[in-house]
């Protein structure tokens, strides 16, 4: 009860839109009119008064229905429970009409593209709540809402259509818990054990005591064996810069699990995993006509900035820019670059090679899950074979440059393809 009251209060705070109604006769009224006119017509033609009696109830209903008051305009309030949601997340939409008098209100939701309205798409009453699920990432129009007002006698219908607001649908991050860590980490506090001694909690080694060492660090068994005081040392804990590189040039495959879908979901998963590990994460989106980027940053809010950047590519967008022209803020030296790409664009592959030659540590997640269709013609089969060999050659050349390439199908956890590189620090070959 209280939640319903809260919902009403929240809805009342939303500004209402005054909308004009277009009234017209209902189907019921048209049927009554047909019966009335046909009865009178037959009575006149056949001169049989009983047919005028047949027409009488229908005509009386129509005549009496004319005195009903019908509002020319009503106020409609629309409030989605969220303006941003992840794929598959349930979103509620509250609607409320005011100024309809005694008219009966019926709401019908016409969902937009990639919006799943569930089972209920129509509701009655001055206030209603619909739920829907965005199925695919992107800026989605929720759809339109048809509002039909019927007078009490249901002889006239007032129609209006409300265009519902847009919803920013974020790609649902894949499952990723483990992280790839560089062998050499910048001198910045974090959570990854580095290969130098410091103030962390992971055991690093034993050394001789020097004045100033904490007494609680003394390793008494080692001190007893060596006859001098020995202290434990611990690994330093550092953070790293991670730049996610999403290839948005090619979108092949079934919509919903295409290469671009997987690239965005994988990048979102990686961003979430590294940000939870207190790393600084940035993103570069490579697309036709240029590159958009967002400099590495920390915190939970950065996750939403990254996804916004991938979806909108408004800030930092540089038409015709390439990786060489990107500022250090976008691609800091020594950063780990995690690439999500189907590796179909040769220029993108060349850019990866260029970055590798500039000394960046890279890891490519191959998100290509589609192949040319199998056909009977020899030429088609040969073309398909050549395409496959080209793809193999691209991946082989990247591996030869020291860029690990792992394949991800979008179904399993990202931890599985990355397992070989998360067990030990990633060392790039210079």
């Amino acid at each position: 009860m209280s939640s319903s009251t809260d919902q009403n209060d929240r809805l009342l705070r939303v500004p209402g839109h005054e909308l004009e109604l277009h009234w017209r006769s209902s189907r019921h009224a048209r049927r009554l009119l047909t019966l009335g006119v046909a009865g009178v017509f037959i009575a006149l033609l056949a001169r049989r008064p009983e047919f005028a009696g047949v027409a009488a109830p229908a005509l009386l209903l129509l005549a009496a229905g004319r005195v009903q008051r019908r509002p020319a305009r009503i106020s409609v309030r629309v409030r989605p429970s969220a303006t941003r949601a992840f794929e598959g997340e349930l979103v509620a939409l509250d609607v409320r009409a005011e100024g309809q008098g005694g008219s009966h209100v019926r709401w019908t939701l016409h969902p937009g593209t990639e919006i799943d309205p569930g089972d209920v798409t129509a509701a009655d009453g001055p206030q209603a709540r619909f739920t829907f699920t965005p199925e695919r990432w992107g800026r989605r129009q929720i759809g339109t809402m048809d509002v039909v007002l019927r007078d009490r006698w249901r002889l006239a219908e007032g129609h209006l259509t409300v265009i519902l607001p847009k919803l920013d649908c974020y790609p649902a991050p894949a499952d990723q818990r483990t992280k790839v860590v560089l062998r050499r980490l910048p001198n910045r506090l974090g959570e990854h054990p580095a290969r130098t001694s410091g103030e962390g909690i992971e055991f690093f080694g034993v050394r001789e005591y020097v004045p100033g060492d904490r007494q609680r660090s003394i390793n008494w068994p080692a001190s007893t064996r060596r006859g001098r005081l020995q202290v434990n040392t611990f690994a330093a804990e550092r953070s790293q810069d991670v730049v996610l590189l999403a290839d948005a040039t090619s979108d092949v495959g079934v919509p919903g699990s295409s290469a671009l879908d997987l690239a965005l979901r994988g990048a979102a998963a990686a961003a979430r995993a590294y940000l939870e590990g207190r790393d600084r994460v940035g993103v570069i989106t490579y697309q036709w006509g240029g590159v958009s980027w967002l400099g590495p940053g920390l915190g939970r809010r950065q996750l939403y900035r990254i996804i916004d950047s991938m979806l909108a590519s408004d800030s930092g967008y540089a038409r015709g820019a390439n990786f060489r022209r990107l500022p250090r803020a976008a691609l800091p030296p020594g950063a780990l670059v995690v690439v999500f790409s189907p590796l179909l664009d040769q220029r993108f592959v060349e850019a990866l090679r260029d970055m590798r030659e500039r000394g960046f540590h890279m890891l490519v997640v191959d998100v290509l899950n589609a192949e040319p269709p199998v056909r009977r013609r020899t030429e088609d089969r040969m073309a398909r074979r050549i395409w496959q060999m080209e793809q193999d050659a691209i991946r082989f050349s990247l591996r030869e440059l020291g860029i690990p390439v792992v394949h991800w199908d979008g179904v399993q956890s990202l931890d599985l393809p990355l397992a070989a590189h998360t067990r030990r620090p990633l060392a790039g070959r210079r």
Partner: protein, 212 residues
């Protein structure tokens, strides 16, 4: 006329839908019996059956959803959608009404038979309306007075039809017709005041969705 409250749930809707179908079929049978062979009676009967059957099918298939995008759909699905669209767009009930009245007028004058048909037709229209709008019987409560007046006029019309003509010729029948028309017109003039005085028009109807 008494109302026992709103019929709710799927059972109530199915009952109203069934009532509409039965009333439509009953009207066709009532108007067609006994079968006549003149005045395109066969065509009228066919149209009446077609209209009632298609209207019933429309009510039954009213809840079948139609996809928003119908591009690149397979042929059978496209044909099904075309069928559904035409089933919902064509005014089948109006055609059935005209055909049923046509069937009735082909018979010699039988005023009470026609009056019962008129009452059944109004019932058919009301049941069809309730079935397609999903409203309960409560929606008819504000119209009870008007329906009662209409029933009275229906009976008066049948009575006027039973009065024998004063003399031979067309003038006598025309007089009866004018009398019936005057009655309907008078009722139509008075009725707005009757309706304005009804509980519905005063805005105190029970169970109306607009009230807070």
């Amino acid at each position: 006329m008494t109302f026992t409250g709103a019929i709710r749930g799927g059972y109530g809707r199915a009952a109203i839908r069934g009532a509409a179908i039965l009333l439509g079929a009953g009207c066709v049978v009532w108007a067609a019996a006994p079968l006549v062979r003149s005045g395109y009676a066969g065509l009228a009967l066919f149209l009446a059956i077609l209209g009632v059957a298609a209207g019933a099918l429309r009510l039954v298939l009213a809840a079948v959803p139609v996809p928003e995008d119908n591009y690149l759909l397979p042929g059978p699905l496209r044909a099904w959608l075309w069928f559904l669209e035409n089933l919902r767009r064509v005014p089948w009930e109006e055609g059935a009404l005209i055909a049923i009245l046509w069937l009735e007028v082909l018979h010699p004058a039988r005023p009470w038979h026609t009056a019962i048909l008129g009452a059944a037709l109004v019932g058919y229209l009301l049941a069809t309306h309730l079935a397609e709008s999903g409203a309960s019987l409560e929606a008819l409560r504000p119209q009870v007075r008007v329906l009662a007046v209409g029933a009275g006029l229906l009976a008066l019309g049948a009575g006027a039809g039973m009065i024998p003509a004063v003399g031979p010729g067309a003038g006598s029948a025309l007089l009866r017709l004018v009398a019936a028309g005057a009655l309907i017109a008078a009722a139509g003039l008075v009725l707005p005041y009757v309706a304005a005085g009804s509980p519905d028009a005063r805005g105190s109807g029970r169970g109306t969705p607009g009230r807070r």
